[in-house]
Symmetry: C2
DNA sequence: GTCTATAGACGGATAGAC
DNA sequence: GTCTATCCGTCTATAGAC
């Protein structure tokens, strides 16, 4: 088999594992389920991706790193354009939220599952993931925290952090439940309109973070 | 052994299992871990509580049913007192949030773990739990949805439900991460002040739900 | 690189003595 | 009711043929 087929095989494992991890969690997913779904031999996973933990970490990293890089890049650009004045709140929230909602909308490439999995991995504390996640989010949270803070300088730090926690929680929950939003609301809320969902989220976050 | 000791034994299993399920999830917890932590023989779990799924369901139900009953009772009382006019928003939110935050504060009786577990069980979709959870929350969501709706009658249903989803997500996330809030904020936010956390949540939810 | 076969450990659940 | 011992299935991971 040539390189093309090979790459496709490895990719199929990642896609299959991503969907299963998102749906059933790390402990609820077996390597056998993954290889079966990917139409790959069981031994291929360990050969190419190492053990189960490495595979999981690799899947998360592959999605998360470009997202956080893009966030930092867009924040830097926005700050440059603002020329010293605070970047508008809605712009900040948009920069944070957009990559995840867009990932979710990229259904053909498994983005739905990837977005759900990211949300899930941030909620359920897997021992072997904590160090990676802390390091991965430290720069983003630090820089965005500062930028957001300029819109409510008088707010006590404790209140500010609680609000931030509520907003983050709302976003993770939205990502984790978007796929069944239609069922949960008896058809009133669509689950396939990523743009509308994001607009509502930005509106919500601005209202929460932008009040003294 | 008398009845007293027996009850204590069964109770110890529930407490131990609750903590482990909260920390490691359903699939991440083994019956052996549970019995070891509870200082109980392995076979005792199956004998008294049936299989693993029954045990999990029993733990959730034991905590959730009184909470939802209390919510419905308090809502009915508040509506009676309001004499036809809408129950104030902060009262509604308080009725919904209070039982969970108080459960969390009841550390000696394992309430912290129970609250985390409830949050977790509402996020991760265990197949054998969905029917129970849907039935358990249907009356609460229906009645409170109506009561909340009176404060924003002009708001399109879709927007209302999205806001509700954000608020619920923020609350579940708060419950799931309260225990590490201090670490996540470098000591700025305390994790043992349930009253302050609840007050901030109510303020947050009122702001979100009470704007046209 | 890819497969089969299997090692080796651990899981849930139960039989049967006490 | 409580315990020990164990069955039986499934899991991850790897050895070794091709």
């Amino acid at each position: 088999m040539g390189d093309t087929k090979l790459k496709e095989t490895l990719e199929r494992v990642l896609i299959a594992a991503e969907a299963l991890f998102a749906e059933n969690g790390y402990d609820g997913t077996t390597l056998r389920q993954i290889t079966q779904r990917a139409n790959v031999n069981l031994a291929a996973v360990n050969y190419h991706h190492g053990d189960k933990e490495s595979l999981y970490l690799e899947i998360i990293r592959r999605r998360l790193q470009p997202i956080n890089e893009s966030r930092l890049k867009n924040l830097a650009a926005a700050e440059l354009g603002a020329e010293g004045s605070p970047v508008p709140l809605d712009v900040l929230v948009e920069i944070m939220a957009r990559p995840l909602f867009e990932l979710y909308a990229d259904a053909d490439h498994g983005g739905r599952h990837a977005a759900r999995l990211i949300g899930r991995s941030l909620v359920e504390p897997l021992p072997f993931m904590t160090k990676f996640l802390a390091a991965e989010f430290q720069p983003v949270m630090s820089r965005f925290g500062q930028a957001l803070r300029r819109h409510a300088p008088a707010l006590p730090p404790e209140d500010f952090l609680w609000r931030l926690s509520f907003v983050v929680g709302a976003m993770l929950h939205a990502l984790a439940t978007l796929h069944r939003m239609k069922d949960l609301t008896r058809g009133i809320c669509r689950d396939n309109d990523q743009v509308a969902a994001r607009a509502r989220f930005v509106q919500f976050a601005v209202r929460v973070l932008g009040t003294p």
